[in-house]
């Protein structure tokens, strides 16, 4: 979805061959069948599962087909805090990631243009976290932010953190982890749009006596909107569904559990498949609605 922004940018307009439809069919059919079988029908089975009823007198994990709308009501009310945390944490982490990433992307894409080698070096450093296991880098932060770590001791020494305070297991740590893990997803699309930004527009702003701040807000930001949209979507969507950062063994605690944690626990541990399925559908529906409204509001429907 968001990736279409990159894909469609430098399209050379080609006159498509009208016939040769059998060739197209042969090329498309295997992959499309694969996606129908392993993407679309799983979503449908998720919907079916979400309506299942408990088998009377059955074992744990035994369900029969049904039309239990009640599953949605029950799971939404039982897991309302998880739902709110998922979208709240994801939203805050997305804003943080945007604020942290924008100057990085601006520097690499605009200021460093004269030094292509420096540009590619910095880009490599931005994506470097991708190359070390997602789980291990999150665990590294858990250790760095743990109670006896120098970071926490220093914060306590200057009384930013109370003597009995923790960092790990708090919403702060979860949002911190989400922000950290998704900064590359934010920086790369911002960089791709800023890299193409025509400097002359900024100079025009300057020539017209706009202050640097006005030029930034009225020229740079609007011109980099496609990157901002792609970056925020690429951060928000995976962050809202994440259950690693918020997990008790990583940066969270039972008080920070997100929707993803509830889905995982219900599916894999409690074998309460209908609730897990209903929560998954809720997650997906809310994301699609939010993304739809967001994209329409920012006037960039053509990105999709």
């Amino acid at each position: 979805m968001a990736f279409a922004a990159f894909a469609s940018t430098d399209a050379v307009v080609t006159k498509p061959a009208r016939r040769a439809s059998t060739v197209a069919l042969v090329m498309l059919l295997p992959g499309i069948l694969y996606m129908l079988l392993f993407f679309l029908t799983p979503l449908i089975s998720l919907v079916i599962t979400s309506f299942q009823a408990e088998l009377p007198g059955g074992d744990i994990g035994d369900y029969v087909p049904g039309l239990q709308w009640q599953n949605y009501v029950d799971s939404a009310s039982e897991y309302l805090p998880h739902i709110l945390r998922a979208f709240g944490y994801a939203l805050v982490a997305t804003v943080f990631a945007l604020v942290i990433s924008y100057p990085i992307a601006y520097f690499i894409g605009v200021k460093a243009r004269r030094w292509p080698l420096l540009q590619s070096l910095m880009l490599t450093l931005v994506i470097a976290p991708f190359f070390i296991s997602f789980l291990l880098r999150t665990l590294a932060w858990k250790q760095i932010l743990s109670d006896e770590s120098p970071v926490v001791l220093a914060l306590k020494a200057v009384a930013i953190l109370p003597a009995d305070g923790h960092l790990t297991g708090t919403p702060f740590a979860v949002i911190f982890g989400l922000t950290y893990n998704f900064i590359p997803f934010m920086t790369l699309p911002l960089y791709t749009t800023l890299e193409r930004l025509d400097i002359r527009f900024l100079e025009a702003g300057n020539d017209l006596y706009a202050s640097p701040a006005t030029t930034f807000l009225k020229v740079t930001v609007p011109l980099s909107m496609p990157g901002i949209i792609s970056g925020t979507l690429l951060t928000f969507i995976p962050a809202a569904g994440d259950y690693i950062n918020a997990s008790r063994d990583f940066l969270g605690s039972s008080k920070t559990a997100m929707l993803g944690n509830a889905i995982e626990a219900n599916f894999l541990t409690l074998q309460n498949y209908p609730v897990a399925a209903a929560l998954s559908i809720i997650l997906m529906a809310v994301i699609l609605i939010l993304v739809g409204v967001y994209v329409r509001r920012s006037g960039t429907e053509d990105l999709l």
Partner: protein, 287 residues
């Protein structure tokens, strides 16, 4: 980049302003310093993981107990670790090959041909990227459950191939769209058969894009945990091994594997960038 005048304008830009307002120069340092600090921040967990791969730890790898090379030399002594790593490689390779083949064919067809349901097909391919992984994982698991499929390495490969296809299509599509059709026409004008034109012209021109897509697929597959966790059953991959170990403490051997993979990945990136720069230089010299 097309803009020679743009570059000179860029160079001339800050200087007169700095002349007018001398303080500008000092504040101009703010951004580079911030960026340097931000990049260091991004690298902290990598450094931590690397350093603790040399820790002379006994059970848990939390406190620093002294430097040792032992964990690097005896990685596979940690029970289950190398098996999980091997599974990750196997899944990554098979899923990458499948996804690259299926996705490349789709990408070419999407750009080159017009047909019915084109926009629904595009939607079907983009939607997985807009779907949270936990939904993809739970959906597949629900389907395998309904079909009574035994979860294992095959179901993991099926799942990984699915989400890799979308990324392959996007990556290769951009490359196909940038391809000049005149090159293929020239091939046909010279009586090349359809197969010859494809294998001698189209495929070599698309190859960088296909390779990039394959590397991306492998990286995504290798590091995936969320979808794997729902569909692996009792089979461990490297991320799943870490997830399970996280409850009782990660062995330093896991850091060894992660660090080695990191070094290899960075080496691939550097080599590909250097070779691209060299190719660019050759092209510049030609024109």
């Amino acid at each position: 980049m097309t803009a020679l005048p743009l570059d000179t304008a860029n160079q001339a830009g800050p200087d007169p302003a700095a002349g007018r307002r001398p303080r500008r120069r000092l504040s101009g340092l703010g951004l580079p310093i911030y960026v340097a600090l931000a990049l260091v921040f991004l690298l902290i967990p990598i450094g931590y993981t690397f350093v603790f791969s040399f820790n002379d730890s006994v059970k848990s790898n939390l406190a620093w107990r002294g430097f040792t090379l032992e964990k690097w030399l005896t990685v596979c002594n940690e029970p289950g670790l190398c098996e999980a790593f091997g599974n990750s490689i196997l899944v990554g390779v098979v899923a990458t090959v499948l996804a690259t083949a299926l996705g490349t064919a789709i990408a070419i067809a999407l750009v080159r041909y017009r047909f019915r349901f084109r926009s629904s097909i595009s939607l079907l391919l983009f939607l997985p990227m807009a779907t949270p992984e936990v939904v993809l994982g739970a959906g597949l698991a629900a389907q395998f459950l309904a079909l009574g499929t035994q979860k294992g390495i095959v179901t993991v490969i099926l799942a990984h191939t699915m989400f890799c296809i979308s990324f392959v299509v996007v990556t290769v599509k951009a490359r196909v769209a940038g391809l000049d059709p005149a090159l293929e026409e020239a091939g046909r004008d010279l009586y090349g058969s359809a197969a010859q034109v494809f294998w001698r012209i189209t495929f070599p021109l698309l190859l960088p894009g296909i390779l990039a897509a394959a590397l991306l697929s492998f990286a995504l597959s290798f590091d995936d945990f969320i979808i794997t966790n729902f569909n692996a059953g009792s089979v461990d991959t490297f991320p799943k091994f870490i997830y399970i170990a996280a409850a009782r403490g990660i062995p330093a051997e896991a850091n060894v594997i992660a660090s080695a993979v990191f070094i290899l990945a960075i080496a691939i990136v550097v080599v590909s960038q250097v070779s691209r720069a060299a190719r660019q230089k050759r092209l510049d010299r030609l024109s």
